[in-house]
């Protein structure tokens, strides 16, 4: 889970000026000048959508996500950022950033991907779910004209990452599936210029667009919000099965994938559900898929429940490890031993994490320095960019 994004012009500029690469502050501020502010219906950025089919009477069917919205002329899809304009489906968020940060890659979280590096993290408004516990609902649950954004074309996003010495661009905070075209083009351009791209997603996407996007991506993180259809229906206005399909496709593609599970007291934290989920992940993703159990905090429309007790998170970790997963982490629990990576064979620590401080302490050429056990992951940028998958 990511923390709250930067929004608003002042924060935007501050981020650009005071990011991870402080020595570049002047040039970054200069670049901020091209980030033209946009707000309002007349200023949204209209761009052809990539995934839809036209049906009768100028209606379209969106073929990007499992909702497959049928959208009449002048109407929008569930995500609120795609509009039927005379039988042509358009995205209204191409190049409109409402949030930008330079984050540790561990904040995504991606623990087996270029540890101790940063990711230029970007978002546009919109989401194809409505989770009652959304941390970023003030951008994910709004339409583009309701959020102040800045026009930043793909080439400038890539340049911004380069200038921050970020080897990675992360599409995150809201739901990148709904700004697919922007992420797709930026990732393709970034790859050509030596910058990787990671998708921080709910996994609610159909197979064909996922496979095409993965040709340009270097890693994916999927939020597995629970392991029951009931939870997805009651708390996310969505369905579990398509997310599991996405995980299967990602495993088939072979792209580096990590899974995050936000444990919410009484709703998705039973031992039986955790066990069933862990077994499914072992069977479908393999025992080496990194899994993060993250701590819930009351927010948005779920303020009636307390933060997840650490003991519940620790129990989930034990169950997952006992079920055969090799790399199980705790999230949003700073200074906990469950933040660090341990060799599954000898038990030695290979990557130490304390909050967002990361030290690679026992990893050599992708293997445990102590016993030589291979530790799966993406450990170099060359490795990240080596293969085009899809």
């Amino acid at each position: 889970m990511s923390t709250a994004p930067v929004t608003g012009r002042r924060a935007f500029l501050k981020t650009l000026g005071c990011g991870a690469c402080a020595m570049c502050a002047d040039c970054l501020l200069a670049r901020a000048a091209w980030a033209r502010q946009v707000q309002g219906r007349n200023q949204v950025a209209v761009h052809d959508a990539m995934w839809f089919e036209t049906i009768e009477d100028n209606a379209v069917r969106c073929t990007l996500c499992p909702r497959e919205c049928v959208v009449a002329d002048v109407e929008r899809g569930y995500c609120g950022v795609r509009e039927n304009q005379g039988g042509e489906y358009k995205t209204l968020v191409y190049g409109t950033l409402c949030s930008v940060n330079v984050d540790p890659i561990e904040k995504k979280p991606l623990f087996h991907y270029l540890p101790a590096t940063t990711a230029l993290s970007v978002a546009t408004p919109g989401c194809n779910m409505e989770c009652k516990f959304c941390q970023n609902w003030e951008i994910s649950q709004f339409r583009p004209e309701q959020v102040t954004s800045y026009l930043v074309p793909p080439r400038d996003v890539v340049q911004l990452a380069v200038s921050h010495n970020s080897p990675t661009i992360a599409y995150t905070y809201s739901e990148p599936v709904v700004f697919y075209e922007y992420a797709h083009d930026t990732a393709a351009l970034g790859r050509r210029q030596g910058v990787g791209s990671v998708l921080i997603s709910n996994g609610y996407i159909l197979e064909e667009p996922l496979r095409q996007l993965c040709q340009h991506l270097t890693a994916v993180k999927v939020d597995l919000k629970a392991f029951t259809e009931t939870f997805y229906a009651d708390h996310c206005a969505a369905s579990l099965a398509p997310v599991l399909d996405t995980l299967d496709v990602l495993a088939d593609i072979g792209i580096h994938t990590e899974v995050v599970v936000l444990l919410i007291p009484t709703l998705n934290d039973s031992a039986a559900e955790i066990r069933e989920m862990a077994r499914w992940l072992v069977e479908h993703m393999g025992p080496d898929v990194p899994v993060h159990f993250s701590r819930f905090h009351p927010i948005y429309r779920m303020k009636n429940l307390p933060p997840t007790p650490v003991a519940v998170l620790e129990r989930a970790r034990r169950i997952a490890l006992d079920s055969g997963l090799n790399y199980v982490y705790l999230g949003n629990v700073p200074f906990h031993e469950g933040e660090s990576t341990y060799c599954p064979r000898c038990g030695k620590m290979v990557i130490q994490r304390v909050g967002y401080r990361t030290d690679v302490v026992g990893l050599e050429d992708g293997a445990c320095a102590s016993c030589g056990c291979n530790i799966p992951g993406v450990w170099t940028q060359e490795q990240a960019l080596a293969v085009r998958r899809g």
């Binding site: 309002g40 219906r41 007349n42 009477d57 100028n58 209606a59 919205c69 049928v70 009449a72 002329d73 002048v74 109407e75 929008r76 899809g77 569930y78 995500c79 609120g80 409505e130 009652k132 003030e138 649950q141 709004f142 339409r143 004209e145 309701q146 959020v147 206005a237 948005y300 429309r301």
Partner: protein, 339 residues
Amino acid sequence: MKRLMRREFLSETGQAVAAAAVAVAALSTEDTRPALAKSRVVVVRHPALADAAGPDPRAVRGALDQAALALSGESDLDGAWARWFKPQDRVAMKVNCLGLATHPAVVAGLAQSLGAAEIAPERTIVWDRSDHELVRAGYTLRKRGSGMRCYGTDGLGGSGPGGYDTELATSGAIGSLYSRIITERCDALVSVPVLKDHNLAGLTCALKNFFGAIHNPNKYHDNGCTPFVADVCAHEHIRNRLRLAVCDATQPQYNGGPPRRQRWQWPYGGLILSTDVVALDRVALEILERKRAVVGLRPLAAEQRPVRYLESAAARNLGKADLADIEIISIGTDWLDVG
């Protein structure tokens, strides 16, 4: 069901007052059931309302006043409009500007009629989601100065995302922010929709019109908008303010909505009034289905878009969804004569 047949529509207000008063008196002698048992819906029709170029403003005014008399049961216009509005009220008229839009002449006539309740024009607002959509539908923006106000939620400026309230409101499964035009600038709401087909909900009219009052209507269209239409209207922001619905059925559209498709519009030449928005929508649906049958289109249910949100709304006590519970007063051409 009751009908007031008119050989000739009376466009002059004075004539309308007298005529409608007589008609209502006649009605009361025929009604053997308890008055409170039914919701009243008035359908008023006239050829001057059916002009393809737009309804005649004088005819609109006359029709509205005549319908108001019939709906209220009052014998004079002042009493009729005063039944729903007080002079100190700030009245917000929610139009529908997405696709086929509420005709500005209907709103202009309504605004004039509100004068009978001694409401100053400056205390009335015509609104929808955005300035852009209002202008596209033929409205003239007016945010200050004298006269009736007209602007979109996004034209409010100030605090709040895009003109919406900052406090999340929930009366169902989804949370929303409501327009600050409702929460901050209005005491009385009037739904002024246009009668049209909807590709997902089947019908969009007085209830669904309020999808334009929340920041995230895109989250409310699953399952034929059921029960989401009822959820939006059941919130106290709307429920406690909604006084009246005036439906523009001058050139309704029986298929292919919500975008405007002229080939599926027809000159019904009607206005539909009620204080029960569910009952109004039920009558509107009946008109739509009758027209579809006449032209050989299948019922909405057969096209997998039955209008189920009316039952949800009735279950939330927002009004009556059963025709047997609705008293329909037809002025002018019979309301079921759909041509």
